[in-house]
């Protein structure tokens, strides 16, 4: 019995250790960008989030267009479906799944910026969201 509990505990621990988190993404993107994690800038991340770019229909668009000005608030897709908040402080599921994170950076950066985001930008972006209380 004790053995079994110990095993379950170990499994949980190892699952926990291998799961992604905002800080593990920051470390990975910093490494990819060739900078120290401490060189990631929440201020640059916020600027990226709020920066407006010409959209396809002429209107300016930014991350905030769908995610709202406050990333602790739920957003809305173009067809009206709610988007869970981006800030890990209110939505602990954010930045815990590498495939998901990469998929949405790829899609949304090409939509808003008309190009992919750099590793540095992704790191800055998460650094900003992760320090929001």
């Amino acid at each position: 019995m004790i053995k079994r509990i110990a095993w379950a505990g170990l499994m949980l621990l190892s699952a926990h250790a291998s799961a992604d988190s905002p800080s593990s993404f920051m470390a990975r993107y910093a490494q990819q960008a060739g900078v120290a994690v401490t060189a990631l800038s929440p201020a640059r991340g916020e600027a990226l989030y709020r920066s407006e770019h010409p959209g396809k229909n002429g209107a300016a668009q930014s991350c905030a267009s769908c995610h709202t000005a406050n990333p602790k608030q739920p957003g809305q897709t173009r067809v009206g479906k709610p988007i869970e908040p981006l800030a890990p402080a209110v939505n602990p599921e954010r930045f815990t799944d590498a495939a998901k994170v990469e998929k949405w950076f790829r899609r949304n950066c090409t939509d808003v910026l008309q190009r992919e985001c750099s590793a540095q930008e992704k790191g800055d972006f998460i650094a900003w969201l992760n320090q929001i209380k």
């Binding site: 396809k56 229909n57 897709t77 173009r78 067809v79 009206g80 479906k81 495939a99 998929k103 790829r106 899609r107 949304n108 090409t110 939509d111």
Partner: protein, 176 residues
């Protein structure tokens, strides 16, 4: 005598009631495969997860196979948005959509859509199918444009049980 009469009365009542019950349309069964206003009940992990992250997971029965091939072949330009997927997930979802498409013969909903479809066309939008247009011809144009609706792609704005696949008129409430 009195008891006998009463017994006959009870039997007659029970008989009539059960006959009535059997002759009434049994909604549940008739709609099991997606009857009149019910989408076929389908489950597919990637379809639900991926398609429904931006909009309702529209039923595959609402467009023919040729349309789904076009939709899934152009996900990087999906109605103005990049909805690209990894190739394996994309192929997986397309297989599911084709297997259950309007022209797959697998649902009554699909048959209805096909009855009014020009077989040489492969519309990209469900809202462009004759079936959809005819079904919604009573809805005033102005209500589609309301902020609370957003667009005709937002089924759930009016079909309050759309997420469950229920599109009965009784469940419709057009928001102000």
């Amino acid at each position: 005598m009195n008891y006998l009469l009463r017994g006959i009365g009870v039997l007659a009542t029970v008989g009539t009631l059960s006959l009535l019950a059997f002759s009434l349309p049994s909604g549940g069964e008739a709609r099991g495969d997606g009857g009149d206003d019910l989408m076929p009940r389908l489950t597919h992990k990637a379809w639900q997860q991926e398609c429904a992250s931006c909009h309702l997971a529209y039923s595959p029965a609402l467009l023919p196979r040729a349309s789904w091939r076009r939709v899934m072949g152009g996900l990087d330009q999906h109605f103005g948005e990049n909805a690209s997927l990894d190739p394996a997930t994309q192929a997986d979802i397309l297989r599911f959509l084709e297997a259950n498409a309007a022209d797959s013969g697998r649902s009554r909903m699909g048959d209805k859509v096909m009855q009014r479809m020009d077989r040489n066309t492969a519309p990209l939008r469900i809202t462009e199918t004759t079936w959809f247009v005819k079904k919604h011809d009573e809805v005033p144009r102005a209500s589609w444009a309301r902020k609370s609706v957003g667009s005709a792609a937002n089924c759930a704005a009016c079909h309050r049980q759309a997420e469950k696949g229920v599109f009965d008129e009784d469940t419709v409430r057009i928001p102000k």
